[in-house]
Amino acid sequence: MSAYNELIKNFERIRSYMRDFYVYGFKSRDGYQSKSARSYDDERRRMESWLGDHMSFVRTPEGKNVFISIDSRTIPHNPLYNAWKAKSFTDGDITLHFILFDILHDPAVRRALPEILSEIDGKYLAGFESPLMFDESTVRKKLKEYCEAGILTAEKEGRKVYYRRADSTDVSSLTDVLHYYSEVAPCGVIGSFILDKAVTDTDSFTFKHHYITGAIDSGVLAALFTAMREKRAVTVTNMSRRKDLPRRSRIIPLRILISAQNGRQHLFAYLPDFNSFNSYRVDYLSNVKPEDPTPRFDELRAELDRMQSKMWGVSVKRNKWGNEHLEHVEFTIRVEEGEDYIVKRLYREKRVGTVEKLDEHTYRFYADVYDSSEMIPWIRTFICRIIKMNFSNRTQENKFKQDLNEMYRMYGLDGEVKP
């Protein structure tokens, strides 16, 4: 049994723990039934080490509940990025890394493998009591890995291959850009990696309504973006909440749909086997494997562009023969004197809908969308002003009204209410 180490080899396991600790946070140790107690203890300890004060706990009759609680408005940088900076390595990996970059300290310096091997042993390791031994294939493998990562280049001259450090990129003028985009851009953790190498720090920016959870999905997101750039299909594992077992699917990723209001990120994709479109929660996806490029990518993305004018959120209703089903949603609100901000809200939040002024105090919103149920939470934010509604999907309209009645009951307003 290996000893505990705060570094990890595989990100996928910690990903689900972090999500549980951050998003939920009410589970005790016993609540993680699908995972072993030892594994729970180790992962909890790691997160405490990475996240420090952001980890909290509370004692309940069921035991100690550990959770991550962060007011993201008060922090300039996403602490969950730390998990991406905890990859384990061997003693040889780290020793070789620093020696290689000391040998290849400038892009003007080039060395062939035999020269590198000789310098490692003669110059760098000779002074140690029990020097590590690096055989030729280990060093060659490392050099190849670094060439693939883009930090070294290899030049062939006859039968000899020479290695150089890649040219440096001057990012000294980008400090503010990096601070800002490492928080707001997709895969911002990569910007955080660049910042880690820089000396300067700044607190010029903070962020409101800032969902930091997506950080733990950056690996999946980067793989999906890469597939989209290369117009490739991918095979992914989807752990849907509706199914017990994860399912592997071959899909063509078309766009990432991000919510700034509910913290969710979806992949919108085409399923060639079913001639259908579907959206997948990015946090439920794993193990993205690139497949062949597809000639249909541009055509499918153009189709998505068209469909987006009927999407309130991430849902579409289109069958495999291409027939679409749209639902009409309409509601009218009344605004009082001095409530211009409500009208402004309607206009700025209407997305694919239309707002029409009926008179000084009355405004009508309408839209034709694939899935009216996606709009219900938003419409509820106008509670106290809704005077009329008309959904073509009667079930949704009735549900809205039933819910409203239930809320009246819940707050003791089921009888007559005085204005």
Partner: protein
């Protein structure tokens, strides 16, 4: 590949330690400080001991190193691809910087590859020249700790003349707006950047007093019924707050959320959006705000 030791806190910390050793530092306590600052809570148990014991053969037991150069590493292709991607974002013009030459680099993503579908439509005019100019004046003053002066029209339509020290810029992705957080301005501490006019550096001699105002926090407590996946939706929706959840019984949960007092109206509608699956049980004041809205709704009628 994002998950790589090349980006690890350990590699960065060891690079910083070797740099200090090359500068002549031998004191272990000083080197341990680097570990505390740059790595994780328990890294102190591993990093220096691994170097001291020659497990990682980079530093001799007398705290000298066979390395001759300050450790640095060029950007990886992944880092360059991400940089290229952000160089394509329209907001990047705000910063007035020239990106390094990334001509041969494929972006990791382009604006076509993702879409934030629910951000508000009245975001800041990021491509407006005057907005960009003011943004840069403010950013510079934040870095320098200097003062600015500007004008803005208040809610009553009166023009206000303001001198203050900008502290930081707060960006909301939902609003797609920057707010300027200030110090030394008695009336207000935060203002939407788009409302600022004629902003320039203040070159006078009047000093700036005061600090950023500490926000007042309140807590709202709700009882949540986990139907229609409400628990997950709710916890994710409010994930960016300090919060605590507790299981009360089967499918029943208690959640406390700490929020800035001034954001109460926004919190009320966000909680209302969950309908009858979430009931506010505290504070009384917050519950009262919800009840007021429901009363009005009931009285207004709904056809």
């Amino acid at each position: 590949m994002i998950f790589s030791e090349l980006y690890s806190a350990y590699y960065n910390t060891v690079a910083a330690i070797i740099s200090r050793i090359l500068d002549g530092e031998r004191n272990e306590k000083e080197l341990q400080k680097i570990v505390t600052e740059r790595a994780f809570g328990e890294s102190g148990l591993t990093i220096l001991p691994s170097l001291n014991t020659e497990k990682w053969q980079l530093v001799h037991s007398d705290m000298t190193t066979p390395l001759e150069h300050t450790p640095t590493m060029p950007l990886t292709t992944l880092q360059k691809r991400w940089l290229k991607a952000i160089s394509l974002d329209p907001r990047v013009r705000l910063f007035g910087v020239t990106f390094p030459d990334l001509e041969d680099v494929e972006p990791l993503f382009t604006p076509e590859d993702y879409y934030v579908y629910d951000k508000y439509a009245d975001g800041d005019p990021f491509e407006d020249e005057e907005y960009i100019r003011q943004f840069r004046v403010i950013l510079e003053a934040i870095r320098d700790g200097s003062q600015i002066k500007f004008e803005m029209v208040n809610r009553k339509g009166n023009t206000m003349f303001i001198r203050c020290r900008p502290v930081r810029l707060e960006y909301s992705e939902k609003d797609d707006k920057f707010r300027l957080v200030t110090a030394g301005w008695r009336a207000v501490s935060t203002v939407n950047l788009a409302k600022i006019q004629k902003c320039v550096h203040y070159t006078g001699e009047k000093p700036s007093f005061g600090h950023e105002k500490e926000p007042t926090y309140d807590t709202v407590t709700v009882r949540l019924r986990d139907e229609r996946n409400a628990l997950e939706r709710f916890m994710l929706h409010f994930a960016h707050f300090e919060k605590q959840a507790e299981k009360l019984g089967k499918d029943l949960y208690l959640v406390r959320i700490r929020y800035v007092h001034d954001d109460a109206p926004e919190m009320v509608i966000r909680i209302l959006s969950f309908g009858p699956l979430v009931e506010v049980i505290g504070s009384e004041e917050f519950r009262g705000l919800v009840i007021d809205k429901l009363k009005k709704q009931k009285n207004i009628g709904l056809k």
